[in-house]
């Protein structure tokens, strides 16, 4: 009756970097099982009944927060959403004090987004009996985004091994790209990066990726083109002359997309700046765009992560 399985080694999901390819495959396979739950008349299973999950979002988020909350509810967990605005954080309470107070109410898991890289790790080390899930920490990692991207690619193309993925845009300030590079290279995909030199970290090639200067060169022969959001809020000032110039140089248009392989997938982690990194007609064209599939799959992938971390080892 007890199905033996491989399991995640850590009690937390802090990033993709510490995961093995087997662990990544386990999460993606498990997510397949959960995708079906969202298509049922009763979209709920009792797997996490009685477990309390706190969503600690200290930085703005719509998609990720909503996606985690839906995933938690579909697993029958009790959820509590904590946002920095309107809380004691505005009165100057530190993250540790906030977290200590929440932990005193016995949650089983904490999902955290914070602008400081490493804050999820700090909580994970501080609370040995609580599973901590990183929902984005500064420019460090955003593991569930990379997992849902991989799930979407695997669902459409049937594999990750050998797939050519081009990632375009704001490489420097993007935690999504860092998690994606870790995941895709671990799984044997080929990653090509393109973007303005001012937004390209030095020596990024050491992560096992290929860097090119022009968008056309990056798209040539790609199976997947992943456009990143220009993160105006992280830049202070623009790293390129104007948004229009950015669009002309690195914006994804239908014409540019003809250089990719037939059946190319266009992805975007959202929220999109239409007319900056991606043309509206490309974003909305179902022959290329899997952007809304990514959102749908996000729930299944987060259910898988919550389920895998929420078992016995997460409680006792």
């Amino acid at each position: 009756m007890r199905t033996p399985s491989s399991a995640l080694r850590s009690k937390d999901l802090l990033g993709i970097e510490p995961l093995t390819p087997e662990e990544i495959t386990l999460i993606l396979d498990t997510a397949e099982g959960f995708k079906e739950v969202s298509e049922r008349p009763v979209k709920k299973v009792p797997a996490l009944r009685g477990q309390l999950v706190i969503n600690l979002f200290m930085e703005a988020s719509t998609r990720t927060r909503v996606s985690f909350e839906i995933a938690e509810k579909r697993l029958s967990a009790d959820t509590l959403n904590f946002a920095a605005s309107g809380s004691a954080v505005e009165k100057g309470e530190t993250l540790i004090d906030t977290a200590d107070n929440l932990v005193a109410m016995h949650p089983n898991m904490i999902v955290i987004r914070h602008k400081h890289p490493g804050s999820p790790k700090m909580l994970a080390d501080r609370y040995p009996n609580i599973a901590v899930i990183n929902a984005g920490d500064g420019a460090h990692e955003h593991p569930t985004q990379a997992l849902l991207d991989a799930f979407t690619i695997r669902e459409r193309l049937g594999r990750l091994q050998g797939v050519h993925v081009t990632i375009v845009g704001d490489i420097k300030f993007s935690r999504v790209v860092r998690s994606n590079i870790h995941l895709l290279t671990k799984m044997g995909a080929h990653v090509t990066l393109a973007g303005p030199p001012t937004l390209m970290p030095a020596e990024i090639e050491r992560m096992g990726v290929h860097v090119v200067n022009s968008l056309d060169e990056a798209i040539e022969g790609a199976d997947v083109v992943m456009m990143l959001r220009i993160q105006l809020e992280r830049q202070g000032k623009l790293s390129f002359p104007s948004l229009r110039e950015y669009y002309n140089t690195f914006g994804l248009t239908r014409e540019r997309l003809t250089r990719a392989k037939k059946g190319v997938l266009v992805m975007h982690p959202g929220p999109m700046n239409r007319g900056v990194e991606i043309a509206s007609d490309v974003a909305d064209d179902p022959t290329y765009s899997v952007i809304l599939d990514q959102v749908t799959n996000g729930v299944a992938v987060r259910m898988a992560v919550l389920y895998l971390l929420g078992g016995a080892h997460g409680v006792e």
């Binding site: 049922r40 299973v45 078992g311 080892h313 409680v315």
Partner: protein, 178 residues
């Protein structure tokens, strides 16, 4: 673990499954609204075989499905690591259908309890029946099977091992001792 006795070989297993298929059709006076649903994992091939028998017998196709009960287990918070989750697949809505749940062994009844909960989340069947290849007793819940391949009195320390061509490469049922 030592093999104590071989309960069924391939030929006897096939006869048992054929008889289970006949009983299901008999009890329902035909196959209208019938849906055969296998419980993962070893209930699935047994359900498939019953479907083939019924289709041969009646000359009509029968709807079928697969139920994964992992997320409904009552011991989920006790087992580590977490058991593997796979999708459930039901070929059509179960509302007003007569569902025959199929599993390999009926023991404590906890798997069937979980399967009933899982099934209800997909709709409201008119009736639910249970068909098992082996009923070994020792129920911990008020659950019984409507169609049984073979009833075997066992001791709690014994283990029933059902092997199927589809999952284990051969057909046989063994009774083992720990």
């Amino acid at each position: 673990m030592n093999v104590k006795k071989r309960l069924l070989d391939g030929a006897r297993m096939n006869r048992a499954i054929r008889r289970m298929a006949i009983e299901v059709v008999e009890k329902n006076r035909g196959i209208s609204d019938l849906m055969i649903v296998g419980i993962r994992s070893r209930g699935v091939p047994i359900a498939d075989r019953m479907v083939r028998e019924i289709e041969q017998m009646e000359g009509q196709s029968v709807s079928s499905g697969i139920l994964d009960i992992t997320l409904y287990r009552d011991d989920l918070t006790l087992v580590a690591p977490q058991p593997v989750v796979k999708p459930s697949k039901l070929s059509e809505p179960i509302d007003d259908k007569i569902i025959v749940l199929v599993d390999d062994v009926l023991y404590t009844g906890r798997t069937v309890r979980a399967a009933l909960d899982a099934l209800i989340d997909f709709g409201r069947p008119r009736q639910v029946m249970l068909a098992v290849l082996i009923d070994r007793g020792h129920r911990e819940l008020p659950i019984h099977a409507d169609v049984i391949g073979k009833t075997v009195p066992t001791d709690a320390h014994e283990v029933i091992k059902v092997k199927l061509e589809e999952t284990d490469g051969e057909d046989e049922v063994l009774i083992m001792e720990k």
